[in-house]
Structures are given as structure tokens and as C-alpha cells.
Assembly symmetry: C2
Homo-oligomer: 294 residues x 2
């Protein structure tokens, strides 16, 4: 049990799944002197984390004893794996244990988890909006959070203390900004800013098979397709979990691109210019927003 809901140096923090994000959490928490235990089915990940000092204790399976000692649990698992794991293992947690996750989609995860969770446990979901092109604990680095948003998605089932503890986690890890959003707000935002952009980058990368093009690519094309290198297992999960919102966003974007195409086919120079001026103005606002956040 946490002391007044606060993480301190005596709190037992348990990270389940030590990939890029779970590993970066472990690294950052240990760097600040917190007591971290890790579980990962891959022995090499555990060896690496112990050697690097990312956690004090590491195990390849979550024994009842390890789970019982945890005060605060971070599920660093893929979204759907998370649900199965929690269903199978929640019986071993001590009453009052607080649990959070790192999933990029919240609908169909948070509501489901909270529906079967033991009433004496708390699941307060959150999403570190950070990543890298390479995965695995070997690429872990908690400094990737310094320029990233941390989103907490509380529901009516969460306590003020639980939310505050998850916020404290983000503070310890030095996220640039911490915000609270409802599950629906979060998934709408992610559906547009992250999932739609990945859907576009993938489609752009796969729609043309001309091998010669690689020679000519400039920065624009490289910028647009950088995120077309994508973890196929994780992103297909994220897309499917947020299917309705992502389909809506694709439709909205496709309609706008079709509008541009029609202006072009009609030879409507003024219409094109208007659209370009609007995009220029909106893009400039984004830079203002970024500067304000910095």
C-alpha cells in the first residue's frame, strides 16, 4: 500500500513487460532512486535490465509472491495482452494495489479492465505519447519523455489519490506536459494525430512500387514516410481497438483530399490557393502552440 497514495523510495513499483516503454520507465524510476521490480518473459531483457541497473529484481514470470509485494504496477504490455494478463493475475495483488498501463488506445481496454477488476484494486489508465523507431529494452531511454505528452484518462471508478499517483509517476519521469482527458477525447485525439498519420504514411509507402524512386526522394517524402516503418503487431492492435474513430478520420481526410482533387480537375486556381493559405495559417498556429508548450 502506498503511503497516502504517494510514491516514495519505499514503494514497491512493479513493471510487467519491459520493452521500449516499460524499460524506459524502469530506467527513469531507478535513476531517481525508486525501487523497481520487473517481469518480462524474455530472459535477455531481464539480464540486460539488471546489468544496466534499470531494476533491482527481475523475473521471467510473475509469481504470486512477486505480485503480492507490489504497491504500484505498470502494465507495459500490448493492449490486448494486457487484458488477458490482468484477468489471469489480479487475484494475487494485495488489496489497494494501484495499476496503470501504457496503451495507445483506451476504448475497449479501460472499460473492459475496470468491468472485471477486483473492487479492492484500482486501474487508472495513462498513455505516454512517446516512442522510437526501434523497440526493445536495449533501446530504452527515459530521456525520450522530456519532449513528450503524458495523458491520464481517468474514469468515474478512479480515486483522486490514484490519479495523483499516476501524475506523480509522469513527474518523476520528467514528461514535458501532463494532461487529463476522457477516454473518448483521448481516442479521438490519437485517432487523428497519430493513427491517421500512420495510415497515411503506410498507404503512401505501399501505393507505388517503382524501385527507382528511392534515388530521387527529398526531405518531404522522407518526412511523410518516416513513420511508415511500423511495428505490425502493435499497430494492427491499436488500429482495430480504435476502429470506428479511425475510419471516421480516414473518411474525413479522404473527403478533403478529394476536394483538392476536384479543384485541380476544375482548374480552380483560386480555390487551390485558398486551401493552401488555410493550411499555411493552420500549420503556423501549430508552431505557435508548440512554442507556448516549450
Amino acid at each position: 500500500m502506498l503511503n497516502n497514495g504517494k510514491l516514495d523510495k519505499d514503494s514497491k513499483i512493479l513493471i510487467i513487460g519491459c520493452g521500449l516503454i516499460g524499460g524506459s520507465y524502469a530506467m527513469g524510476l531507478s535513476a531517481k532512486g525508486y525501487d523497481v521490480t520487473a517481469v518480462d518473459t524474455n530472459p535477455a531483457s531481464i539480464d540486460y535490465g539488471i546489468k544496466q541497473g534499470f531494476f533491482r529484481r527481475g523475473y521471467t514470470s510473475a509469481t504470486p509472491d512477486v505480485l503480492r509485494q507490489a504497491d504500484f504496477v505498470v502494465l507495459g504490455l500490448y493492449p490486448t495482452a494486457l487484458l488477458g494478463w490482468l484477468r489471469d493475475n489480479q487475484q494475487h495483488f494485495a488489496p489497494g494495489t494501484l495499476i496503470t498501463d501504457v496503451s495507445g488506445v483506451k476504448t475497449n481496454i479501460v472499460d473492459v479492465a475496470q468491468s472485471f477488476l477486483r473492487p479492492d484494486l484500482e486501474f487508472c489508465a495513462s498513455h505516454p505519447m512517446a516512442g522510437k523507431e526501434s523497440s526493445g529494452i536495449e533501446n530504452a531511454d527515459y530521456r525520450i519523455f522530456a519532449d513528450a505528452n503524458f495523458i491520464i484518462t481517468p474514469t468515474e471508478q478512479n480515486s483522486a489519490e490514484g490519479i495523483a499517483t499516476v501524475r506523480q509517476l509522469a513527474q518523476i519521469l520528467e514528461f514535458k506536459t501532463i494532461r487529463e482527458l476522457s477516454i473518448h477525447e483521448h481516442d479521438r485525439m490519437i485517432g487523428f494525430l497519430s493513427q491517421l498519420t500512420h495510415a497515411i504514411a503506410v498507404s503512401l509507402m505501399t501505393c507505388n512500387d517503382d524501385e527507382e524512386l528511392g534515388f530521387f526522394t527529398g526531405d518531404s517524402f522522407r518526412d511523410l514516410t518516416r513513420i511508415a516503418r511500423i511495428n505490425d503487431v502493435m499497430w494492427s492492435e491499436l488500429f482495430l481497438l480504435n476502429r470506428d474513430i479511425l475510419v471516421e478520420n480516414i473518411d474525413c481526410f479522404a473527403a478533403e483530399l478529394d476536394k483538392l482533387k476536384n479543384l485541380l480537375q476544375d482548374g480552380n486556381r483560386e480555390g487551390l490557393q485558398q486551401m493552401f493559405r488555410k493550411s499555411t495559417a493552420r500549420r503556423s498556429q501549430f508552431d505557435v502552440a508548440k512554442a507556448a508548450k516549450a
Copy 2:
């Protein structure tokens, strides 16, 4: 007349239109000791270029005398302005004068220009694939060419000497690579790599009016929309000149995005994963191509 078709320190190089690209050409050529004269209707641009040493002589209008002395002319004008200018002024050039341009689209420009050009002049088109988010001679810097492709688009009307001189220009300006393409090959490549990407970035930027989003944008969204800040006059010209090819590219991309949407709606996890693996593999090839070019 050039000495055996070669630019040397006695060659009179005339740049018509000193914006970002014309100005960067002038800067680079002068830095290498070549004799550059510039014409731009904006007196401030001429003042700036003289002060910076980008050219020895600068004028706000192209007098017959200035035109007659030129051996090699670079038209740094917007594509459609280029045609009108050439039609109105070609009478003043000395026989044997070689002309090139900097236009981002070649169909409807090169064929038209060559159809009315005096038979004793030569127009050998080229495209420096370089740019910046900011325009004007004040932002000129020939070092932007060091990482850029230079494309020459010769036709049957061009001589081996004319093509070699344009190639020499690109060498002096230290372009990373120099390639020859047919007009059609050039416009197909540009329609996909440059114009389609700009059409996508603009549509992504204008399809959602939520002002709050600026707060949450991460690197993916910023990368995809960096080029949504776009010169409305120049890009509407470029789009309209390459209308058929760009429409074809938009259709091809939209069909691919629709395919992704259908996989998503059908809950086809394996189909999504296949598409993601394909995009990952293709994007990796591009990085290999870039490394090979470097």
C-alpha cells in the same frame, strides 16, 4: 557565345528572377568567381544581391542591351511567368545563347517554350530539387544544393553541348547528384514524390478544425505537415501544370488508403499486418538508397 559550350570566368551569366533559387544560383556562381548579372523587378532584391556580392550588375528590368550580352541565361521565374517573359524578350538575345530554367514541372513548359523559341537559341530545361520554407533572395544560400538532386530534362531539340553546359552549372553549384530524365519521367517522379506529398499534407492540415489539437501534436504529425506551409501562388501553378499526373497519383494513393480502411472495417488483422510489413520493408529500402547516394 560560350567558349566551346563551356562556362568559364569570361562567360556572361544572366539570372532573370532572383528569388530563393535564382538568388542561391547567383550566390554560388559568384562565390566560384563567375560573372553574374541579375534582373529582378523588385529593387530591394537587387540592392540586397549587390550588397552581398551575389552579382556584379543588377537591374530591375531586362533592357535589350543587358539581354544581348548574355551567354547563358537562367530563368528563375514561376513557370507560367517564364513562358510570357521568354515570348516577349527572346528577340533581344544574341544568336547561340543558351537558356535554362528552375521550374518544378516540365510538361506544358518545355514543349511550349521550345515550340516558339527562335531556332538560333537553345532552351535546355532543368530542375534543382531544393527549397526552403522561406522564400526570397534574403534566404538565398547555395549550400542548400549540397544535399539536393539536379535533374536535366533534355529533348530532341537539345544539343550535347547545351546539356553539358547545364550539367556544368549543377557541378559548379555543387549539387549532390545530377541526373537526366525525360520530361514525362520527371513529371511522373515529381507528381508522386513532391506534389502528392504536398497535397496530402495540405489536406491533413485543413480537414480538422479542432484548435485544441495543437497542444497534443507529436513528431509524427509535425513531420507530415511541415510542408503544409506552402507558397499558394507557386504551388497552385505547379499543380495545375501537372494536373493529369497528380490526379492519377491522388487516385492511386486514395485507393490504397481505402484498401487499408476496408481491412480495418473487416477486422482483418493479418491483412493490416501484411500492409505494415510491406511499408516497413519499402521504407527501409529508401534509407538504403539514400545511404548509397551519400
